[in-house]
């Protein structure tokens, strides 16, 4: 079993594995999305206070969770690549960034669209949205840094260090923003904060969890796809890549 695992740390073998896995991951993602959307849009009842608008939650909350999860994956794989010099780990960090940034963007947009009917403004500086915005900047910074460095090794290592500094700062940023938020606003409980409270009805909880799972598998599907392109790019001087390029001419 050990031998099989280590074999896939080699880019060439992982390329083939990723190619086989991607369609299956994609299929499971699509099924989960279907189930989640069905339960979220058709089965779950309207909310007592927010009516139908709360259904945005089934997109907003999973997107926000994913924005954090993908950043952890990015920082974690970056750290693995930095410490043990594993190229695939470096590649996972690089390909995760645009996916995570897009989830963060989705969380911000849906947060704004949810806020307008609830609070009356298109943007509200509440603790969650503000932290999400700063997370978006962290993603952009990571991508900008990697884009500015030509040498792939330096780019991966610099990005990994930046991501680690970011990860350590995220709790500090979150804490500071929460303090700042309670400081500048009276203690009015926002509608979104209420959703975080424990008593969420199962008919609403299950679609939420299914959507979160769907988004997670979606991330892995797209990451696998991007990894294949990244592997071809980085290993372009090897014979096996040459065959792939030549064969498909």
């Amino acid at each position: 079993m050990n031998i099989i695992n280590y074999k896939y740390a080699a880019p060439r073998n992982f390329y083939r594995l990723a190619g086989t896995l991607t369609p299956w991951f994609g299929l499971i993602t699509a099924v989960l999305l279907g189930i989640g959307l069905y339960f979220g849009l058709f089965v779950a009842p309207a909310d007592y206070q927010q009516g139908e608008s709360y259904r945005i939650m089934f997109i907003h909350v999973p997107a926000a969770w994913m924005s954090m999860f993908v950043y952890m994956m990015l920082a974690g794989s970056g750290a693995v690549g930095l410490i043990w010099n594993i190229k695939l780990a470096d590649m996972l960090a690089t390909v995760s960034a645009p996916i995570g940034a897009s989830f963060t963007f989705l969380a911000l947009v849906t947060g704004s669209l949810w806020g307008k009917p609830m609070w009356g403004t298109w943007w509200e500086w509440d603790a969650r949205l503000t932290s999400e915005l700063l997370l978006f900047f962290l993603y952009i910074g990571f991508m900008a840094l990697q884009a500015a460095i030509d040498d792939p090794r330096r780019a991966s290592r610099a990005g990994a260090l930046l991501a680690l500094v970011g990860v350590l700062n995220i709790p500090v940023i979150h804490f500071s923003v929460q303090w700042w938020n309670t400081l500048h606003q009276p203690a009015s409980i926002s509608a979104i904060n209420k959703i975080g409270a424990p008593a969420i009805h199962p008919s609403m909880l299950y679609p939420l969890l299914i959507m979160a799972l769907a988004f997670t598998l979606f991330y892995f599907t797209v990451a696998l796809m991007r990894m294949r392109a990244e592997i071809l790019q980085r290993e372009r001087h090897t014979a096996w890549v040459g065959e792939i390029a030549g064969g498909k001419a």
């Binding site: 009516g51 907003h60 989705l106 669209l113 949810w114 307008k116 797209v222 372009r236 390029a245």
Partner: protein, 57 residues
């Protein structure tokens, strides 16, 4: 199933469908972007090997 009620979403239709639409864009966008990247990488490799062969002649 009252479809017109469903699309109106209790008056919040713009916001709800705007959100789900944005989600669709993000998901589809990610997939298309990944496919595009794969395609351009293969093209780059082909050009690379073509120039390589031309250089060694």
């Amino acid at each position: 199933m009252n479809w017109s009620e469903f699309f109106a979403m209790g008056g919040y239709g713009l916001y709800v469908w705007g959100s789900y639409g944005c989600a669709a864009l993000v998901l589809v966008g990610n997939v298309l972007s990944a496919l595009h990247k794969h395609k351009t990488t293969l093209k780059m490799l082909r050009d690379y090997s073509r120039l390589d062969e031309a250089g060694t002649k």
